[in-house]
């Protein structure tokens, strides 16, 4: 292993030096010569008809350069949905145009309808206050059940009942599933809400448009998880700029969790304003704007039924879900509640029959899209809650029931009834590991000790699986995706032997710069300190699809490994020439090309030098230089899985829940950097606990966001969380990528919410409050107390 850490080493994160010393370079840190400042006007009503926007007074204010409204963008294209999801009756989904700025109508509080550009931000804000918008408020559609039931309430005038699509998965299985329910000895039913969340990346969104009148080139600095996708959407769909005339740069980005996957109207607006003014235009969201206009997450209302025999063997599972898409379709909003949710409804279990119905519903709320886990947390929560409820109804042990329904290690590849093929796994092993690391056998003693202090202690469990490493393009194409989901990397060996790797993945906190360098270092025998990872700039990197869906390593990392393989293959050719040996006799090991069975060898550096100073080089048969690009399209999803346990203490007098411990036994395939993997799990579990106990985006009946600041939106803080016990020793390497990796970015947020809720329900039952069968998240003190009272 190279001296500063290869595959498997807990190398400390190189990017942290700049982040922790304030040397990160985020979009807001970038100041271009002559830049002007944009301030957006956002709707204060959830639904309204725009009669007139009078900008005359604002235009006359000091420093004002331009005021643009929806009318100025009416001729531009809409921001499209990335997946087409047909209804089960074959109807196409409803795709209302999502304009750059609202035009004709505003459809949610925070919907931007005008932008003021001025010399200074204060001037832009002052002038924004002088824009007079005559907007007639219309009745708002907020509640999904009401949206679907009432044909007169419409978010988009042309869409009756506000239904985007009514999707059945798999429709052909429906009759068999229904029949199994009719015949089943026991059916457990649960109605639940998967609470709406605000992503709350630490860095708010920001964009700078920079048009160069000399060349006609546009440059966009923006907070993006996938600059090429943003470029494609802006160029080909919204603005009609040729792709080659637009560069998108996502520099350091302070977290995304999904919310920065998507293209937002503000990006097009600053580009258009920059072109109109011939100067850079900068916009940085404040936190209030983020709450109102970032794509939110989750927001499902689900009825789930589980059919079993009396021993708890799963016979069939059926769900009906209303999934909120908000006022407009964000780029992945249609895929999240369908192919990232319905296809996961088998979980890690052998349930033979599954049917999922999802209606996506428009409401006068902010758009809802993928947020850490995206669909898979919703699936996992529904399954793991209904399994626990069934165990209680039939008085069965939740560990034993899960164990006997898990897919067994000898059953792979395992084809689920919801269309996925799990390549490998060992779910019983992670469950066993969990029972050990969470010390299940000591629970009773801990419970008794809590009881002495007047607290109710409970233990909750979840066994989960996810599909990530998104995604095989041909498969997702069949399923309605309008993009491919490969990734790309270029490995450029410089003449002096050091290396720049240009990757299509985008790091916004994950640590790619460290881990990717570890992998290349390991493969090439070059110290990681001689390897740079370049990402986030479409003018530098090959066309990649960015980071989300725990795909960076499994897809982007694989592309990088394939490019490295090409480098080694070419290096062998050069070495064969220099060493006067047959190419087939050259072996590459520990950074050296040698002739097998001899001590004749050339170092990697000598080969690189020769490639760029090709004096003794096979120029007739081989190009000089040492730079290779590879694209990689995965053969399947990857399937990380695990088992989580949560212990809580409930104060029954106040309803307060304290997390006493949290343990995770995960299978992420091969682990490249255990420290970073632990960190990813910690962060994911923190978000999952946030969802379970604290976080909720709440709108009132008029569509006003009640939780529009940290005064009311409760983010998890360090002292809300226990020390986590994390294990990833039960590894089954992924079978279809060369690193054997599966992905770990979303796991924590997927597996944890049901473990927490199951633990609280367990505590209440042990405390004698057996009437409580479910509490909707977040389990705030007030909700838990109320549940105990009723």
């Amino acid at each position: 292993m190279p001296k500063d850490g290869g595959i498997g080493a807990s190398t400390v994160r190189r990017e942290d030096i700049r982040f922790l010393t304030g040397k990160g370079r985020y979009t807001a840190d970038i100041n271009l010569r002559g830049q002007a400042y944009a301030c957006f006007l956002r709707s204060e009503v959830a639904h309204g008809r725009i009669n007139k926007i009078d900008t005359a007074e604002a235009r006359a204010m000091p420093g004002v350069l331009a005021v643009m409204t929806g009318a100025d963008f009416a001729a531009m294209g809409g921001n499209p949905a990335g997946w087409h999801i047909p209804s089960r009756n074959g109807d196409a989904m409803k795709e209302p145009k999502r304009p750059v700025l609202a035009h004709g109508k505003v459809r949610h509080v925070g919907d931007a309808y005008a932008v003021v550009v001025a010399e200074t931000l204060e001037q832009a804000r002052d002038a924004a206050g002088a824009v007079v918008a005559d907007i007639t408020e219309l009745p708002a559609v907020v509640d999904m059940a009401q949206a679907v039931a009432n044909p007169d309430l419409r978010v988009h005038d042309e869409i009756a009942n506000n239904v985007c699509f009514d999707w059945g998965w798999i429709e052909d299985n429906r009759a068999a599933v229904d029949a199994a329910f009719k015949a089943a000895p026991h059916v457990t039913t649960l109605e639940l809400v998967n609470n709406r969340l605000v992503p709350n990346a630490m860095e708010p969104r920001a964009s700078i448009g920079d048009y160069d009148p000399g060349t006609g080139d546009y440059k966009l600095y923006t907070t993006s998880q996938n600059p090429h996708l943003s470029r494609l959407l802006i160029a080909a769909f919204v603005m009609g700029i040729p792709e080659n005339k637009l560069t998108v740069i996502a520099p350091d980005v302070g977290g995304g969790f999904g919310s920065k996957i998507y293209h937002y109207g503000e990006e097009a607006a600053v580009l258009a304003a920059s072109k109109a003014l011939n100067r850079p235009v900068k916009w940085v969201a404040d936190r209030s704007e983020s709450f109102l206009s970032d794509a939110h997450g989750r927001d499902h209302v689900t009825r789930i039924e589980l059919a079993t025999d009396l021993e708890g063997n799963f016979l069939a599972l059926r769900t009906e879900t209303l999934a909120n898409v908000g006022a407009y379709l964000s780029n992945f909003s249609t895929a999240t509640p369908t192919f990232l949710h319905g296809t996961l409804m088998a979980g890690p279990y052998r349930t033979p029959l599954v049917y999922v119905n999802v209606k996506a519903v428009f409401t006068n709320t902010a758009p809802v899209d993928a947020y850490r886990g995206a669909g898979r947390p919703e699936a996992t929560f529904s399954i793991e809650r209904v399994v626990d409820k069934m165990c209680r109804e039939l008085k069965l042990d939740p560990v034993a029931v899960r164990r006997k329904n898990l897919i067994q290690p000898d059953q792979y590849p395992y084809t689920t009834p919801v269309g996925l093929v799990y390549d490998t796994g060992n779910y019983p092993a992670t469950l066993d590991k969990l029972i050990e690391i969470a010390d299940f056998s000591g629970f009773e003693a801990r419970r008794a000790e809590s009881a002495k202090r007047g607290k109710l202690r409970g233990l909750g469990l979840s066994t989960w699986i996810e599909a990530c490493g998104i995604a095989p393009s041909n498969l997702v194409g069949v399923l309605g995706a309008r993009v491919g989901l490969y990734d790309a990397a270029t490995v450029r060996v410089n003449a002096t032997g050091n290396i720049s790797v240009m990757t299509g993945a985008h790091s916004h906190g994950q640590g790619h710069e460290t881990v990717f360098a570890q992998i290349v270092s390991d493969k090439l025998g070059i110290p990681a300190s001689s390897i740079d990872i370049v990402h986030g700039d479409t003018s530098k990197i090959p066309f990649g699809m960015g980071s989300y869906g725990s795909r960076s390593l499994a897809v982007g990392g694989t592309a990088m490994v394939k490019a490295v393989d090409k480098i080694i293959a070419k290096g062998k050719k050069i070495a064969a020439h220099m060493l006067e040996a047959a190419e087939g006799d050259i072996v590459f090991e520990d950074g050296k090309f040698s002739v097998t069975g001899t001590d004749k060898a050339k170092t990697f550096g000598e080969i690189a030098f020769s490639a760029y100073v090709p004096h003794n080089y096979p120029l007739e048969t081989l190009e000089p230089g040492l730079e290779e690009t590879a694209f990689y399209d995965p053969a399947n999803f990857t399937y990380p899985a695990g088992a989580y346990a949560c212990e809580v203490e409930v104060d029954a007098e106040t309803g307060r829940v304290e997390i006493a411990s949290f343990a995770c036994a995960d299978d992420f395939g091969n682990v490249m950097n255990p420290m970073i993997v632990n960190g990813q799990v910690h962060g994911g579990v923190a978000q999952g606990i946030g969802q379970a106990l604290l976080e909720a985006a709440a709108y009132d009946d008029n569509g006003q966001l009640l939780t529009g600041s940290y005064m009311d939106y409760a983010m998890p803080r360090a002292d809300d969380l226990p020390m986590f016990t994390v294990d990833h020793s039960c590894n089954t390497p992924c079978t279809h990528n060369p690193l054997g990796v599966k992905g770990c970015g979303e796991a924590g947020a997927i597996g944890s919410p049901p473990a927490v809720v199951n633990a609280v329900i367990d505590a209440l039952h042990r405390g004698g409050h057996t009437h409580v069968t479910h509490i909707d998240m977040p389990l705030t003190p007030s909700r838990v107390w109320s549940a105990i009272q009723n």
Binding site: A698, Y710, M711, D712, A714, S786
Partner: protein, 262 residues
């Protein structure tokens, strides 16, 4: 933020003069006022900073009572009031976070009278006296409902006099997001009787739970209030808790306060 003028007088008299200017507003720790200005929800023409007046800062004994200057920060009360009035120090040490505590002041907190703020509970339960540039106001007269006090325009809180109880405790139940008091109860036992003040719960702001005071004056034990209950009428109901929940919290926290009083 809109433009404003800034003055920092070094005496109460100068501050009072400065406050007579058109659009003048007192600025103490700025932990409430500055965020409001940044959001453009307030736009005072002149900010009169009160933190440069030496005699409104600090903690000392005054005739057996604890005197806290109006511009004393929560951090200073948390450390320096501890040996005189530990429950008050506990309360100050539980406000916000270290940054808030090292700037926010008692005068600012009381003038603002946020219905979920902590200090009003201590001041009311202690039967404290609020000192201003022109008069003394009894705690029972000072708090006049949410964000409303007996202060006149331009009147400045210069200090607070706290009679020191035999025993007291502040029990705060955090609102999960803001970590202000979802409900907080201050219990103080004096030779003359027990006072109980509840913050965070009522739509009228901080209030005394007189029924509990009577019961606890007779017997300072959690059992003494076991049979009592607070009506939920008039309690705050919001995302974080129903009216019934807050009424329950007030009672539970009172019991815990009695049990932990020191």
């Amino acid at each position: 933020m809109h433009n404003f003028d800034f003055v920092k007088p070094s005496s109460v008299a100068d501050a009072v003069r400065a406050m007579s200017a058109e659009g003048a507003q007192a600025l103490s720790g700025g932990q409430t006022l500055l965020p409001t200005m940044k959001q453009r929800l307030a736009a005072p023409a002149v900010l009169v900073s009160l933190t440069g007046i030496a005699d409104t800062r600090g903690v000392c004994l005054d005739n057996g009572a604890l005197s806290v200057g109006g511009a004393t920060t929560h951090a200073v009360v948390a450390s320096e009031a501890r040996r005189y009035y530990p429950a008050l120090a506990d309360l100050a040490g539980g406000i916000g976070d270290p940054a808030v505590r090292s700037r926010g002041t008692i005068g600012g907190s009381l003038a603002n009278n946020d219905p979920s703020a902590c200090y009003p509970a201590a001041v009311l339960a202690s039967g404290a006296t609020i000192l201003t540039d022109r008069r003394r106001i009894a705690a029972d007269d000072f708090f006049q409902g949410m964000f409303s006090t007996a202060l006149h325009d331009g009147e400045i809180i210069t200090g607070v006099l706290f009679p020191i109880p035999e025993k007291a405790a502040y029990v705060k139940f955090n609102q999960p997001a803001s970590r202000f008091a979802l409900t907080g109860v201050f219990v103080a036992k004096y030779g003359s009787g027990v006072r109980v003040a509840v913050t965070g719960a009522s739509t009228d702001g901080v209030f005394r739970w007189t029924e509990a005071e009577r019961a606890l004056s007779a017997s300072f034990t959690p059992a003494a209030i076991a049979g009592l209950s607070l009506p939920s009428d008039g309690m705050i109901a919001d995302l974080h808790g129903s009216a019934a929940y807050r009424a329950n919290l007030a009672k539970v926290l009172t019991g815990r306060g009695v049990a932990s009083a020191h």
